[in-house]
Chain length 404, copies 2
């Protein structure tokens, strides 16, 4: 059975127009009720602007990947941009590089690395080297950075704690090589092997890098070895310009979301990281784009920390900032999240995410509060997040008829 979106089909029916679409993504928006009050974070927050908007809008619930599936940030956002996350996948190495704003060049092969501990026999005893500090990781990455092996330059950058990235840069590299990370302790790191004939040299370079790293790190117990996984190259996705005939811009304080926006061809705007900064950036650039993606990170972080009250406060700040967005009178405004992050679960979850779509042509429903429980009865029903862009485009009158 075929489900839209199909990007090739959309290309044939999308048409440019001056109408403007704003996609406001409140990261990890969906929640679970506090057992004491029976209300979620969104239901607890005082959100007069969102509720007023809900009255004029059409509401519903979206599943980022599928009912029951807890999405990472990348699949959650790709779905919202209309890119099926089961088809448009991003390698782990590339994702880590994006997450630290590392500018991958075409042809680069990136891998995610762990500093780890091995014993005298070479067996892994701790895959995370006791979760060493980011400072220590930074120091050790500097020791490994800048090697040149078989004409490939090797770039090493710290991420957080024991995590780092390694990027192999040079001619003729291929990403299809196996991981060295055995994903368990008590065994030796795996030998990296080529998974295709053209990847032989890359496998050899990666293996040599690991051998060199072992020597360099020998005296830095517990971080005396590295494990690499997720070798990958920057994927070539069709751009939102090609697919939707849009001129899209992204406003996001965190590198991961800027990187994801770049992968689908958005222009990434310079912005401060506070909510007020981001909304001001949107206002300043509003005239120059017809699609503006604004990303709010704090809700997800608060959810991950299990801080119900902080998540409530950040939702209230977003609600407060919304009035200046409304004064711009966007033709279509979508407010939703990339997944749920209930404070009670202290992490991403599978629960569907409330969505609100406002436009002159939205056919309003009877929902008068923007909340998980009210959206259950919304006119949009429950649907895949990958269809959000179709709805936004339709409401902006940017999609022509399918078939005659």
């Amino acid at each position: 059975m075929r489900l839209l979106p199909n990007l090739e089909l959309i290309k044939t029916i999308a048409r440019p127009s001056p109408a403007k679409i704003v996609l406001l993504v409140i990261d990890g928006l969906g929640g679970l009720p506090d057992p004491k009050t029976g209300k979620t974070e969104l239901e607890t927050a005082n959100t007069p602007n969102l509720d007023q908007l809900a009255t004029k809008a059409i509401c519903g619930l979206i599943d980022p990947v599928s009912p029951g599936i807890t999405p990472g940030s990348a699949p959650g956002h790709l779905a919202l941009f209309g890119y099926d996350p089961l088809t448009f996948t991003i390698g782990r190495g590339v994702l880590e590089a994006i997450g630290i704003d590392f500018s991958l060049e075409s042809g680069d092969v990136a891998a995610r690395g762990n500093l780890c501990t091995v014993d005298e026999a070479g067996l892994v005893t701790d895959r995370r080297a006791g979760r060493i500090s980011t400072d220590k990781c930074t120091e050790l990455c500097q020791l490994l950075d800048g090697l040149v092996i078989d004409k490939a330059k090797i770039l090493v950058r710290p991420v957080k704690e024991h995590r780092f990235i390694v990027v192999f840069r040079g001619e003729g590299l291929a990403p299809d090589i196996s991981d060295s990370d055995p994903q368990q302790t008590g065994v030796a790191p795996r030998t990296i092997t080529a998974l295709s004939p053209q990847a032989g040299r890359t496998a050899s370079i990666a293996s040599q890098f690991i051998a060199r790293a072992k020597v360099i790190l020998a005296e830095y117990y517990p971080a005396n070895m590295v494990l690499l996984r997720g070798f990958s190259q920057r994927p070539q996705f069709p751009t939102m310009g090609e697919v939707y005939k849009l001129k899209p811009a992204a406003i996001a304080g965190y590198p991961m979301y800027r990187g994801l926006a770049k992968l689908v061809g958005m222009e990434v705007l310079e912005t401060g990281t506070s909510i007020e900064d981001e909304f001001a950036t949107l206002k300043r650039n509003y005239a120059n784009y017809d699609f503006l993606f604004l990303h709010i990170k704090g809700t997800d972080s608060a959810g991950e920390d299990g801080d119900f009250d902080r998540k409530v406060r950040i939702i209230e700040q977003v609600d407060n900032a919304l009035s200046q967005l409304m004064s711009l009178e966007p033709d279509v405004l979508v407010v939703t999240g990339d997944h749920s992050t209930p404070a009670l679960l202290k992490g991403h979850s599978w629960h569907p995410v409330p969505i609100l779509l406002y436009s002159k042509w939205c056919r309003p429903d009877r929902v008068s509060q923007f909340s998980e429980s009210a959206c259950v009865s919304g006119g949009l029903g429950r649907f895949p997040a990958t269809q959000v862009m179709l709805l936004a485009m339709a409401n902006a009158l940017k999609l022509t008829k399918f078939g005659a």
Copy 2:
């Protein structure tokens, strides 16, 4: 866009845990309203336990195969186990064998048989031989059972009335041969032909069996001939253990459901057939499994018989038994059906089936009664039955994040 579940993907994100899932399938649960009262069987039944559970749970409606499609027992159950019934198909012969608890060996080729009537010219005059009694069928099957043709042993077992199964057992048999059943009267049985080069011998053996049967049955008018169809071998499905990392058990009084459970790798528990027996079996074995499928047959049988009141009473019995199940405090409890069997239609139907999912993390909705009409407003919305297992696994916290 791809629709989950994809079993290969689930394998990569499923993780074992002690959390327990109970799937209570009330066969043919969904119904249609009695015109006198406007209430379905489920809505007529007094179900305090289900209603109390609905208050704490999240509800919705499932489509076993697709809106508008009336499923048989096999697709209805495969969907609930997360196996797309359009992909995971079971041949008719195998299904009939499963339905009578016949233990198919690997390599066996099974076919569904009809005892039928042919005239002197050999044309079929009644495809069901006047629906002879099961006793008569049993007697005639004994005459046909045990033949050996070209080294293949032929096993014949009665099913019900004119229906029987024939199983060809031996080396090198293949199921891809055509039916002899012409599915109409006034014509001769069809010649069985091989549909692949390697099936030639099997086609020949099946043809010889039919010729022998015609001779043996000559004097048993109206059951003087056989028609065979649905030649098939037991399919090799991935097991629920492989896919979900579960240790699953099935409690079912009827052979068909035990057989379906076996096909997906469940352990089939010894049980009595009454509702009380089945719940007692669940309680007795609860500690040893992390997934328990309990099947209630009576609701479907009552629906098939057009007995509205009996279906109501059986639902009330299940509701009554539910309290002992709740005292086990399963982490996830799903109550639903494999399809609807409205007493008014006296058969399976296409109507979506109410579903209730209870867990600590279910995000309860406002539904306070477990019924077709209340579930329309449930937080789960209306969704494919194949996604039930994903939701159950997610609520048991047995699925890790997809993508980073």
